[in-house]
């Protein structure tokens, strides 16, 4: 096919995908549209752009606090999952573990767990432990939910690392911790990045548990703040659009910038069977 036709085909594909992303762009436009023009369509395009909605969201709503909560909870969830997950994945991949087959089965089964199944007992548990409306409660629940997938992915990545590297370290007299630090983790870095990315996204986007276990702005995460966005009497579409943009900004930035790791992670989860 000629180069020009090729370029045209490429452009068409990109145009089609840009069209696919129209809902996102429409919401972006809505967030800058003046209030009076929101419900008077057509015309679709605003006469002028305004930052009023963002101002309202940032100064008057609970979104900024929710952003902080989400960032903190997602980061700590990722950290906790990795800290617990790396040793477990290593054990599953390399070490002689009693009952390994059963454990693997349990881990695979856990990835299919529906959240609705455990939300009622967890609600009672959180209530008894006074962990409702705390970061800790949500982090523990998120981490335990993310752990099975984390272990599965990391085990796959670990298996890819040639065992010779560890054996060489053992010959040099390194203990387990040292092998971890100096040999394994550096080689595992891309896999860690992929797993961390997926875990962070899961925690950031998680709604069901967050909705049930958060009370006030002390622990409310972004999805919950958005779902509970208060209206005066009317639904404030412009403000909601602005809040939506702010809510998706961190995950979108991360995902688009770290595309490579995302693809790698998704593939690893699927291909390493």
């Amino acid at each position: 096919m000629s180069a020009r036709l090729r370029a045209l085909a490429d452009a068409l594909v990109m145009l089609a995908l840009a069209a696919y992303a129209i809902p996102f762009f429409w919401q972006l436009l809505t967030s800058f549209k003046p209030e009076a023009e929101l419900l008077r369509v057509p015309p679709l395009l605003p006469s002028r752009l305004t930052l009023e909605h963002y101002r309202v969201v940032i100064t008057q709503s609970l979104m900024p606090r929710a952003l902080g909560n989400s960032l903190g909870i997602a980061s700590l969830t990722t950290l906790l999952s990795l800290v617990a997950g790396v040793p477990a994945a290593y054990a599953v991949a390399r070490l002689p573990l009693p009952g390994k087959r059963l454990l693997l089965l349990a881990i695979v089964a856990s990835t299919a767990f529906p959240q609705i199944a455990t939300v009622s007992p967890l609600y009672l548990l959180m209530r008894a432990l006074e962990l409702r409306d705390t970061w800790a409660g949500l982090i523990l629940v998120h981490a335990s939910f993310a752990l099975p997938l984390t272990i599965w992915l990391l085990a796959g990545f670990i298996r890819e690392i040639p065992i010779e590297a560890e054996e060489a370290a053992a010959v040099d007299g390194a203990g387990l911790i040292a092998t971890f630090r100096w040999v394994l983790i550096p080689l595992l870095a891309p896999g860690l990045a992929s797993t961390a990315l997926l875990t962070f996204l899961f925690s950031w986007n998680e709604f069901l548990f967050a909705y049930t276990f958060t009370v006030s702005e002390a622990s409310r995460t972004i999805p919950v703040a958005l779902a509970l966005f208060p209206g005066v009497f009317e639904v404030p579409w412009g403000d909601i659009a602005a809040a939506s943009m702010l809510a998706s900004l961190p995950p979108i930035v991360i995902v688009v910038a770290l595309q490579r790791f995302l693809v790698q992670g998704l593939v690893a989860g699927a291909v390493k069977e």
Partner: protein
Amino acid sequence: MSAGVRLAALIGLLALGGCVARQESGPVTLVFKYARILGNADPLPGLLREFEAAHPGVRVRAEALPWTSDDQHQFYVINLEGRSPGFDLMMLDCIWVPEFARAGWLLDLTSRLGPDELAPYFPSAVASATYDGRVWALPWNFNVGLLYYRTDLLTRYGLRPPQTFEELVEQVRRIRAGERDPSLDGYVWQGKQYEGLVVNVLEAFWAGGTGLLAGDGTLFPDPARAAEALRFLRGLIESGVSPAWTTAADEELSRRAFGDGHAIFLRNWPYAMDLFESPGSVVRGKVAFASLPGRAHGQRGVGSTGGAHLGISRRSLHPVLALALARHLSSEPAQRAIALGAALSPTRPALYRDPAIVREHPAMPELLRLSLAGHPRPVTPYYLLLSATVQPEFSAALVGVKRPERAIADAGKRLGYFLQAVR
């Protein structure tokens, strides 16, 4: 365990503990949960600052509740049951008070109120704040279902506000035939699957001479009449008297349609009048309200009463201050400010004849008459259970996926099963 692991565990526990601990230092902060008040000027911040000025060292943090009544209820239920609610004063829909009182989430105010403190309020408002002979909340604002109508259109055709729905249907037909405006709807009301739907259906039940709960607690004492009322509502949509989007309409969607001049009749709460009379409104000066119509072979029309109360969480750390704030907000000056600045009606009958308020809202005395004639929804701790269970059934009948008789029968069966556990 190696020292390294032990250290890590300790740090981990401390970090978690730090996350759990909550701020206790600083001035006393009262948390007040409410649904934001609309109006030309929101009087609430001013009232709260007044309170803070009168009580040095006390800050009031006002937090808005979620959007709909059902979401607000779910929010309260999840958090009050979770035992650490984190708020002191709550704005409660009057239908929740018996349930919350029964569940033990509200502070019993009976002994804390003066002997005649509740006398200036509407008796029905006080009744809905009372459960088991004790008082659990202070009435704050009052609502009653009204029929709004376009005075200009009715006058043009020499019509008076309809006494029955059959009259209303006929008037709609005449006016639409005369106006020949395809975008003019007849009667808009709330048919979306939420609490508002139950209100509309209950009003239809009452006009038909039946109800949801009989005096002795029987569910659907007259299922045939209830089904007929439902069928009538469905008929309004099918025949085009009400637009198809009624099944997705809440208070705001219907108010907007009427306020943009696209409807002849509207069923809504008193707050809407203020918005219709605001400068720039398309229907300014062309709207009045009347009692809801009855049925030709049924009862007189009657509007459902509603409104909000102020309740105090039993787990509040500052019950005395919270009660002081509640008293401040439902005091006569505060209610006057709210009635003038916002669109909420007072719970004190005296204010409906207050010169300042009547000047602003000339229809207040008429509203008082209608408020006193209003009918409450069933005052029972099981009301929310009832409502949540019948909402999908009523909605199914309204959109036409279920026959009304079937909807009533299914609703009765489900309610029977759920209430069996509690009664």
